[in-house]
């Protein structure tokens, strides 16, 4: 009797607690058509790097998103000042030495592609120059000196590790959102023991434009909500491209390199 009662409650408890069912369903799909997607990043020291693709239907995320004959232009004050070059039709660049950029000017981009409307971005300025004042190291630690960070922009400090002149990997040491915290001036110190294997380490201190910060924050929020199928609604990724999707953002960067055999530099 007790066994059968236990069995009964066991089965019914199971019915109640383990009844989440997933299955594929036929559902009317909606796609708002192919649109150009551009992600372009501009700095005075590194020029412009961009990627251009097209959107895909949501039910075909692994489809071909390449565009054949897209052209990317950098504009200043509404006038085209340079055109990006590409080798593979996906990555577009304008070298820094081809540009003469000013911190006061407003920059934007335009993308043309046959079969698509011309898309354009919001106009924006370059952020103020950022500088790692100096880098010194002893046998155990590496020290970066940063004296005058601007409080109104986001920062990140990235470490690139090299061995035999080849990059072995990168990691982000700091990401500071100006909405919550600012980068204080001072000394930043890292233990070198973990990087003994590498020949050199390059530190990049980035200063992001507000658009880039906004996009990165929205990207983080998107990732958080996307993982949860029961989230009330997903967070949308910000875009400042008109007629298409993506982002045009500016940044400035300052670099300093530590080399293994130059301790005390």
């Amino acid at each position: 009797m007790i066994k059968s009662v236990k069995f009964y409650f066991g089965v019914l408890s199971l019915l109640l607690t383990a009844c989440e069912i997933e299955k594929y369903i036929d559902y009317e799909k909606y796609y708002d058509g192919d649109k150009i997607v551009v992600h372009a990043y501009l700095s005075s020291s590194r020029g412009m790097v961009a990627s251009i693709h097209k959107t895909l239907p949501p039910d075909n995320p692994n489809g071909n998103d390449k565009l054949q004959d897209a052209r990317l232009f950098l504009l200043s004050g509404g006038h085209r000042i340079a055109e990006a070059t590409t080798e593979n039709g996906e990555k577009y660049i304008i070298k820094a030495n081809e540009l003469c950029l000013s911190n006061d000017a407003l920059y934007s981009i335009e993308v043309e592609c046959s079969g698509f409307e011309v898309i354009s971005s919001d106009a924006m300025r370059l952020p103020a120059e950022v500088k790692i004042d100096s880098l010194v190291s002893d046998e155990l630690f590496c020290y970066l000196y940063i004296n005058n960070p601007s409080a109104s922009n986001g920062y990140s400090l990235t470490k690139h590790r090299f061995r035999h002149a080849k990059e072995q990997g990168r990691s982000s040491l700091y990401y500071l959102n100006p909405q919550y915290e600012t980068l204080p001036a001072g000394v930043y110190q890292w233990n070198l023991a973990t990087d003994e294997y590498y020949d050199s380490i390059c530190y990049d201190l980035f200063l992001y434009s507000p658009e880039l910060i906004e996009m990165m924050d929205s990207r983080q929020a998107y990732n958080d909500s996307y993982d949860d199928v029961f989230a009330e609604y997903p967070n949308f990724i910000k875009s400042n491209i008109h007629g298409g999707y993506g982002l045009f953002a500016t940044y400035s960067v300052s670099s300093a390199t530590w080399r293994k055999y130059e301790v005390g530099e």
Partner: protein, 765 residues
């Protein structure tokens, strides 16, 4: 039925108190009519009434479920008269009460009295009678996600409902993380649901009022019942104590924890393993002291508790004398407590009720990780706590003068909020540290709310009746004082004897906000006080409707349309779930939201012999707008159901068998689906693009539940009842959400429930 009457010959005012003969329970909403003059009134929620009558008039008392009683007023002396009436059908101590005054004749609209029989007989998910779920058959009310017992009334949010249990404000109404409501239906005597047209005595919430009155306790004899169900079991006992006292005690507890005893023992004995535990219980208790024939003192208590826990133990031998051991235990406790002391008195023309109540809601999450390695112990503890404490005094007065029924009173509440307190501690043999990590809104906040109100229900002539009221409130919180005046207006006009038209306008303010977050898959609520920047929620509602009723045909039909606007709404800032550091209450929510909802509600009820049918249909449009969401554009509310149809049928075949069925058909809830996909952005990988929040709908929702009850009388004259419930009879998998599977690109549906049968047994003595 007893009718206790005292007469004031000078003024011809008759006052009294009506109660049931079988158990002494007071009966609300009994019709009391002077047959000679046609004047009438009803007893209030506590069975009290007063009526102006001529000496030679005849008074008739009637209520559904009881035989009518007629008394010659002239025969009433200045002493209390007791008139005994028998219930028309006795189902052993069950109190069956319905508003006798037909809905078409009431000035109130947007109010429904839910019969306790329906609450008990409506089929349910687990076989447990559920008060909150049972009211969802009414038009304009939905429960949100399938299986949950959250209320969304006429476009409002779940935190906008004022739920009162014997005057105690209940801040969290569910067990089992939202799947079962907190109310033990064994103790429920009367439930009023207000969707609109709120009387002036209610305030402090923007969308609805659920006023639950529990039984008084049997005054005649000892009685009770024992129930065994799938999720829980319960015990209910009621009895008189002497001539003037009566009480009831009801307890309910789950027993899932019993299945986990072995796993717990294993861990307690130091063996590897893990267990998940869940338990809840609730206790209701009431003591009723009839001081005199015209005054009562009532003490009501309530305690509800939910606890879910998880623990695992991991051990590893790393050498002859070295051992690694990790014990991880987490627990979420949710507590609701309340107590109220009420004094009810009929003082001549005036009925007065004074209530002092205390209510507390709290949730506590605790996680402990205990590690021992090489005989060095390290213990880390995380705790998060949130609570609200409420002490309220309510004074209510009612008086009938000629054609006026005047109500007035005051309400004073003091609140203490602990919105969220997180502490972390670490101790080890080598060092000891303790840190209270305060994420901004951790400080205790205090606020006070004081309201005065007055309401006059005036019978203009035989056809027209109006109710005009006003509620004025001062809410004082840190850094701000809010003063609000809320007008309430209702009007009824009888077009024919069977048909009336009604209209109303009400304004409501809500000073305490709630946001809901998830902890280990369990919903927990965080109550927040208003601040200078977090302003009170505000709602305006206008409605108009036609009500038809034919007593001979036992037919009622109504059509109501409403339009509601809401301001200063809040929503939880989703990024908070990841432990983002906050610096103030304002940062934890998205505020200054707007809402608007318009709808048309149809209700049809008909009794055919022993079959009762009730059908409701709502067509509505419910939207929200927040400056930080959806580019500040209006979007459909998550629980917006454009079409919502419910059919409820109950059939009592004979004394032994009864059946009930419930069919629900509704539009799918809104869902957000992408309109295109970006495969790569150069740095972070692919992402979906959306053209708006809640831009699509889930597939059509439909479900049929049935219940069969078999009741028999034992040799001792007691009753035993078996109840079989089948939730979702044809096992239709209703979508809770849908999403694109990023691997295949196909749309996947998640359904929470398929067919769920359950069986319960009740023994009444």
């Amino acid at each position: 039925m007893f009718v206790e009457i005292s007469v004031y010959p000078q003024s011809n005012l008759i006052t009294g108190h009506v109660c049931d003969v079988s158990n002494g329970e007071s009966i609300p909403y009994v019709s009391c009519v002077d047959i000679t003059s046609g004047r009438g009134t009803t007893t209030n929620l506590y069975g009290y009434f007063s009526l102006q009558a001529d000496k030679s008039s005849r008074l008739q008392f009637s209520c559904i479920g009881y035989e009518s009683k007629t008394i010659d007023s002239i025969s009433l002396s200045d002493t209390v008269v007791v008139v005994t009436l028998n219930p028309t059908h006795t189902t052993l101590d069950e109190v069956v009460v319905s508003a006798y005054i037909p809905e078409r004749e009431q000035v109130q609209m947007g109010k429904n009295t839910v019969p306790v029989e329906i609450i008990k007989n409506i089929p349910s998910l687990s076989g447990e009678a559920d008060l909150i779920k049972s009211v969802s058959y009414l038009p304009g009310i939905n429960l949100g996600k399938e299986g949950y017992a959250n209320l969304y009334v006429r476009g409002g949010d779940r935190g906008q409902n004022l739920v009162l249990l014997d005057g105690i404000k209940i801040y969290n109404t569910s067990h089992v993380g939202g799947f079962l409501s907190l109310f033990n239906t064994d103790v429920v005597k009367h439930v009023d649901v207000y969707k609109g047209g709120f009387p002036a005595q209610y305030g402090g919430r923007a969308s609805s009022i659920i006023d639950v009155i529990t039984k008084d306790g049997n005054r005649e004899r000892l009685g009770g019942k024992v129930s065994l169900g799938l999720i829980s079991s319960s015990l209910f006992v009621e009895s008189p104590i002497g001539n003037k006292l009566s009480f009831y005690l009801a307890c309910r507890s789950s027993y899932y924890a019993l299945f986990q005893i072995r796993s717990r023992k294993k861990i307690n004995n130091g063996q590897d393993g893990e267990y998940t535990n869940y338990t809840f219980y609730d206790i209701n208790c009431k003591l009723n002291w009839r001081i005199t024939e015209r005054s009562n003192l009532v003490l009501s208590m309530f305690n509800g508790h939910d606890m879910t826990s998880f623990a695992n133990l991991y051990r590893k031998e790393t050498g002859t004398s070295n051992e690694y051991k990790m014990y991880n235990k987490s627990r979420l406790s949710i507590n609701n407590k309340g107590v109220s002391l009420s004094h009810l008195a009929g003082l001549g023309k005036i009925f007065m009720k004074n209530t002092m109540s205390f209510s507390k809601y709290s949730n506590l999450y605790k996680n402990v990780i205990d590690e021992i390695e090489n005989k060095i112990e390290r213990q880390e503890e995380n705790k998060t706590k949130s609570s609200i404490n409420d002490i309220t005094f309510i004074n209510r007065n009612e008086i009938s003068i000629q054609r006026h029924e005047i109500k007035g009173g005051l309400e004073l509440s003091c609140y203490m909020f602990v919105p969220g307190m997180t502490s972390w501690s670490l101790s080890s043999d080598a060092s000891q540290a303790r840190c209270d990590t305060l994420y901004g809104y951790t400080r205790t906040n205090y606020s006070t709310e004081m309201s005065v109100y007055a309401n006059d229900e005036y019978e203009i002539n035989n056809k027209a009746k109006a109710s005009v009221g006003c509620r004025a409130t001062i809410y004082k919180c840190k850094g701000a004082t809010y003063r609000r005046i809320e007008p309430r207006f209702s009007f009824r006009y009888m077009l024919t004897d069977n048909l009336s038209v009604k209209a109303n306008y009400t304004m409501m303010n809500q000073y305490n906000h709630v946001v809901v977050t998830l902890q280990d898959e369990f919903e927990k609520e965080i109550w927040l006080a208003c601040t200078k920047n977090l302003r009170p929620q505000h709602s305006n509602q206008t409605s108009i409707g036609f009500f038809y009723g034919n007593d001979k045909l036992k037919l009622n039909v109504s059509v109501e349309s409403f339009y509601k606007t809401m301001n200063n709404l809040i929503d939880y800032r989703s990024a908070l779930n990841d432990g983002e550091v906050l610096t103030s209450i304002e940062e934890s929510v998205i505020r200054d939201g707007q809402g608007r909802c318009r709808g048309l509600e149809f209700m049809f009820s008909k009794d055919i012999k022993n079959i009762s049918l009730c059908a409701s249909y709502t067509i509505s449009n419910n939207e929200r707008r927040f400056s930080e969401i959806n580019d500040a554009k209006w979007y459909p509310f998550l629980y917006d159901k454009k079409h919502d149809f419910n059919l409820l049928a109950t059939c009592k075949v004979n004394k032994k068998w009864s059946f009930s069925g419930n069919f629900a058909l509704a539009s799918g809830a809104p869902v957000t689906l992408p309109v295109s996909y970006v495969k790569r952005d150069g740095y972070f990988g692919g992402y979906y693009i959306y053209d708006g929040i809640n831009n699509k709908r889930l597939p059509l929702y439909h479900r049929l539940d049935i219940a069969a009850n078999y009741c028999r009388t034992t040799r001792k004259g007691h009753q035993s009842e078996w109840s079989l419930n089948i939730f979702n009879v044809y096992a239709h998998q209703n979508a809770s959400t849908i999403y694109y599977d990023s691997r295949t690109g196909k749309i996947k549906q998640v359904a929470l429930f398929s067919i769920v049968p359950s069986l319960s047994y009740t023994y009444k003595f």
